[in-house]
């Protein structure tokens, strides 16, 4: 193993660790201002993860993907969110269904679940028993945890923009799984997916602004006009 390879392995461990920690912190913190900054850190960590895989796989195309992710998830998406927060003037998630302690306990449970359900994936990628699985395949549970934490944020947060945060964590988790299991999807698809996610985030930020302007509400609980 060359020096570069071992550095790549360490970067991989560092970035996956950062991804998981930021996701957990997002459950803990209620301030939306902290949320968009944490998302920016998470985006940078994801770009670092891609960089580590690019070095380990000696894949030049992945370097380009890492740059795109750095710009999109490290800068653009957090800024979209920050602008949305400034537009509605709501800075705190004041009515989550879980208090921080209960949230953290749930996250611990979800992470355990992630390790359990990731076994078929790790084995499928790295051969039976995971014996030949590389460090990347062994880190898959981190991505699955992020997906589950994204869901948790989506269902427990009541502010419109907090739900956008949940969606973005979910999407980061899927991207993490993709990079860890298959060094990312083909470049054309990666571009399409990034573009779609950007547009969805813009639409959601705009809709929450309109909702705020139309009815003064930014809590999804107040949306009860349509039901049977």
């Amino acid at each position: 193993m060359t020096l570069l390879q071992s550095a790549a392995t360490q970067l991989l461990a560092l970035s996956t660790g950062t991804l998981l920690v930021t996701a957990v912190l997002l459950v803990w913190r209620r301030s939306l201002g902290a949320a968009w900054r944490l998302l920016a850190v998470q985006g940078v960590a994801l770009a670092a993860l891609v960089l580590a895989i690019a070095v380990a796989e000696e894949d030049v195309e992945l370097l380009g993907v890492a740059a795109i992710i750095l710009v999109l998830k490290g800068v653009v998406l957090p800024l979209v969110l920050a602008r949305g927060i400034a537009g509605t003037g709501v800075a705190r998630e004041d009515a989550p269904l879980l208090n921080p302690t209960a949230g953290l306990v749930t996250v611990a449970g979800l992470t355990t679940v992630a390790y359990l359900v990731s076994r078929p994936i790790t084995e499928g990628v790295g051969g039976a028993g995971g014996g030949q699985a590389g460090p990347a395949a062994l880190s898959v549970p981190v991505g699955i945890s992020m997906v589950l934490i994204g869901f948790l944020l989506l269902v427990t947060r009541r502010r419109a923009l907090s739900q956008v945060v949940g969606f973005l964590v979910l999407d980061n988790g899927i991207a993490t799984v993709g990079f860890l299991t298959a060094a990312g999807v083909p470049f054309v698809v990666e571009l399409g997916v990034s573009f779609d996610v950007l547009l969805i985030a813009l639409i959601l930020a705009m809709l929450s602004g309109r909702m705020h302007a139309a009815v003064g509400a930014t809590s999804v609980d107040e949306m009860t006009e349509l039901r049977d």
Partner: protein, 498 residues
């Protein structure tokens, strides 16, 4: 023939761009109809070339590929698109007045929507299929929120959050399929390669991947229990968009499930996806039956009927085999045309009455036969009266299911269908017959319960009748024509392994 693969995408893009540029009012008004007609023509052209044993048109190394199923879906998108956009044309304004920005944006987004759906059925790459399905969410988000009222914003929010989260689950499935292919020696997302059975895909990984992909696309297809966004979005969107979403968008998401199902059948056998589809299908029928019975809003009622028909499609796909799959495709066509016609007519009834409540629409047959008769004909098609196509497809699905040993499921489905029939027929009878009470007649044009955001607009309650007649006529004969429609259906079903 490969040229036909690009034409629908290019046409939708060009017409969409033309609609936002400062072009004449005519371009803005007709762009959606033109895009649909081009998609229809390309679909029919590709169907003509999709003969058994013939070469499958392929472009860009599998980026675009049209087998018989893709060609059928493309033609279906075009046919339903023509019905919805032509039937839903707003009354012609003064040609000297330039279209507003909202009108331009609406026209452009309808074109993008049609283009995204065409891309979804024309690509062989599962990743591109996912990107196209997600792009339909983006285009329709603005279309659902087009009216800008509190209700339409609420519907758009629920639609985008649930739709994009659901489809994100499907992305996880697609990514894991790619990982499975890569571990098996060929990093590919090509459906043709993954479903060929030549790659030694890891069954454990494929099981997880297929489960997630089916779950995700089922959300977009409106199958229970992930259906809750559907009635809101479909009832709040403008009528032509509701028609397109109910008639084709659901079917395109369902098409994605069919493709994934083939991969699962090759690698794992039919058990997993069959179980998921049976649960989703019967659940959808149950949810629709429970909510149609006490539904007081006719646009929401049509939306629940869409959930019902997606449930039937899921049951048909779970049965599998040539008869059931051909019936599923006939059902897709018949439901698409009938539902698009009904939503267009419902939009006109809304314009005439200013209310979406069944109770506010009474004695329509006597007062507005020009609206009541097409509504009645469309409802007859939707309820599965012969000679309409849905009669034949429903009978074929049930018979095939019985022969496949799923008699219990078919019995349950028939019972739920009966409940749905009663609910829809009762509401329709109330709207069409129900004596126009004296007070209603006195307050005609100013119904008591009219919501403030639904102004009465008598000009908009009249629209072209030709597309409705054509669509219902096709639905009426589609089940009876062995050539060409029967042949086309069998070939398309054969493309997914039946």
């Amino acid at each position: 023939m490969t040229g036909l693969l690009v034409v629908p995408l290019a046409a939708a893009l060009i017409l969409g761009v033309a609609a936002v540029l400062p072009t004449s009012a005519g371009v803005v008004r007709w762009s959606g109809v033109a895009a649909s007609a081009i998609v229809l023509a390309c679909g029919v052209g590709l169907l003509g070339s999709a003969v058994p044993g013939g070469e499958v048109p392929d472009l860009g190394d599998g980026l675009l590929r049209a087998d018989a199923l893709s060609a059928f879906m493309l033609a279906m998108i075009g046919a339903v698109g023509v019905t919805a956009t032509w039937g839903g044309l707003a009354p012609a304004g003064d040609p000297a007045v330039a279209p507003t920005n909202a009108e331009r944006r609406y026209a452009a987004l309808v074109c993008v929507f049609l283009g995204a759906m065409s891309l979804a059925v024309l690509t062989d790459n599962l990743g591109v299929l996912w990107v196209a399905v997600e792009a339909t969410t983006i285009a329709t988000a603005f279309l659902v929120g087009h009216h800008g009222t509190r209700r339409s914003i609420e519907a758009a929010w629920k639609y985008v959050v649930l739709g994009s989260v659901g489809v994100a689950i499907a992305l996880l499935g697609v990514v894991l399929l790619y990982a499975a292919g890569r571990s098996a020696g060929e990093a590919t997302l090509s459906w043709a390669v993954l479903s060929s059975g030549e790659l030694p895909l890891d069954p454990g990984l494929v099981r997880v991947a297929v489960g997630l992909a089916v779950l995700g696309f089922a959300t977009k297809a409106g199958l229970a229990p992930m259906h809750s966004w559907l009635p809101d979005a479909h009832s709040q969107a403008p009528a032509p968009v509701s028609g397109l979403m109910s008639g084709v968008l659901l079917a395109v998401a369902f098409y994605a499930i069919l493709r994934v199902q083939v991969i699962a059948d090759v690698v794992l056998g039919p058990g997993l996806v069959r179980g998921m589809l049976l649960v989703g299908g019967l659940g959808s029928l149950a949810v629709a039956a429970a909510l149609v019975l006490r539904q007081r809003d006719y646009k929401r009622m049509l939306a629940y009927s869409s959930i019902e028909h997606m449930g039937l499609l899921a049951i048909g796909a779970a049965v599998g085999g040539p008869v059931a799959l051909a019936a599923v495709l006939l059902h897709v066509l018949g439901h698409g045309l009938a539902k698009a016609s009904l939503f267009v007519v419902a939009g006109r009834i809304l314009a005439a009455q200013g209310s979406t409540r069944v109770a506010d629409v009474r004695g329509l047959l006597a007062r507005r036969p020009d609206l009541a008769i097409p509504y009645l004909a469309g409802m007859a098609a939707l309820l599965g009266f012969p000679p309409f196509a849905l009669f034949f497809s429903e009978v074929a699905i049930v018979v095939a299911g019985w022969q496949a040993g799923l008699g219990w499921a078919m019995g349950l489905a028939l019972g739920l269908l009966l409940v749905l029939f009663a609910g829809l027929a009762r509401a329709t009878a109330a709207m069409l017959l129900g004596a126009p009470a004296a007070d209603t007649a006195a307050a005609d044009g100013e119904p008591a319960h009219a919501a403030a955001d639904h102004p009465v607009d008598l000009a908009a309650s009249r629209g072209p009748g030709v597309p409705i007649v054509l669509a219902l006529a096709v639905t009426a004969v589609a089940g009876l024509l062995a050539v060409p429609i029967g042949t086309v259906l069998v070939r398309a079903a054969a493309a997914v392994g039946a």
